[in-house]
Amino acid sequence: MTNVPFRAGAIVALDELLRGKLTDAKQVRMGMTPVRLFGPWALLLGATYGSFIAWYAIAGGAANAWWHLLYVMVKLPALFLLTLFVTFPSLYVFNALMGCGLGFRATLRLLVATIVVNLALAASLGPILAFFTVSTSSYTFIVLLNVALLGLAGMVSIAFLLRTLMKLQESEQTELDAAHGEAASRRSVTGMFFIWIITYALVGSQMGWLLRPFIGHPGQELTFLRPRSGSFVESVWNATAGQAKLQSVGR
């Protein structure tokens, strides 16, 4: 924290991050979102949302439900952070190749900050999930509700990342224009942004597949991890192909 120009508490820092007060172009380059401060926040907020997910198994009276609570509290933040660990080298290289001007540590800080925003939003929607979990035995409903809540949190955090990148782009463009004395050719961050999002989403979906179960299907035993088999894409493909086959048989 020695390089960090603010001395506020962790809660104030989180509040300032959510308000976008730490992600102006200058602040991103200065490292106002240190990993040593926001990394633990990602763990805590991920564990919070994870605990709400695990309520389904507890409310259903499943065996090992309390262990499952602990597992999911570990696995949910792990899903986000391990995905970042796997994708970060490629994300950084794309950033460097496309000339976005963010250093190695600044890129890491920005991505950790985005994960914290995502998990903070998810945790804030947790009470809604918990409320429905208590009164719902339908596994499908809980899966859909989780997809909707995490999807909303994900979309808003993606918008947060794009806004931050736009601010960086504007600042760099202003500096370039000033250096050249005229309007320099514009660099677009949107291409890199989409590469980041697609890479992270692909690896993230497979990481989620490896780290399952999260909700815990009522008909299956709750374990820390399921045996390694198939992949997320394969399972979606099989489900889609199976559905298509059923429909063709129905005709």
Binding site: D15, L18, R19, G20, V117, A120, L121, A123, S124, L125, G126, P127, I128, F131, F132, V134, S135, T136, S137, S138, F141, V156, S157, F160
Partner: protein, 179 residues
Amino acid sequence: MGGLDPSAERLLYPVYSALKMPLMIFATSIMCLPGYFALSTVLGLRNDLRAALRAIVSSQAAFAAVLASLAPMTAFIYANGASHRAALLTNGGMFCIATLAAQSILWRRYRPLLTRSSRHAFMLAFWLVSYVFVGIQMGWMLRPFIGTPGVAPSFFRGEPFSNAYVVVWGLVTGALGRS
């Protein structure tokens, strides 16, 4: 809302309903507020949060006030020997009127915010969708409100909690399967 049950315990229904109505409004708000707060903050609308919350609370106060003002009419309809079905329809109508009044207050209070930033439209939509989504389930869990003739008064139904949406989905798919 209560008062239809002819048994000696019928006076319990008004007491239960009097407790459950504010509980439903308050608990639904408590569920939705953390998400509303966090989303407002990330969307950069924190400075307007106080005004937005004032608009929401005003609309809820309007909802409660209109509903309370319609209570004598509801009681009058009950006193005229309304059937259980008529009581359900009466209460449905009263709720519709109160909801329309609350919506009008909410939009009126939100209008200055909407002119300030279009992101307020997203927050308003989030509030309405999440409040209705949670509110329907809250109402389902806290039933009975009116009470069924011949059934002993109880705070909750004597059955495990269920999900209103899953029940409705089951009814729809069941009806489609039969047709």
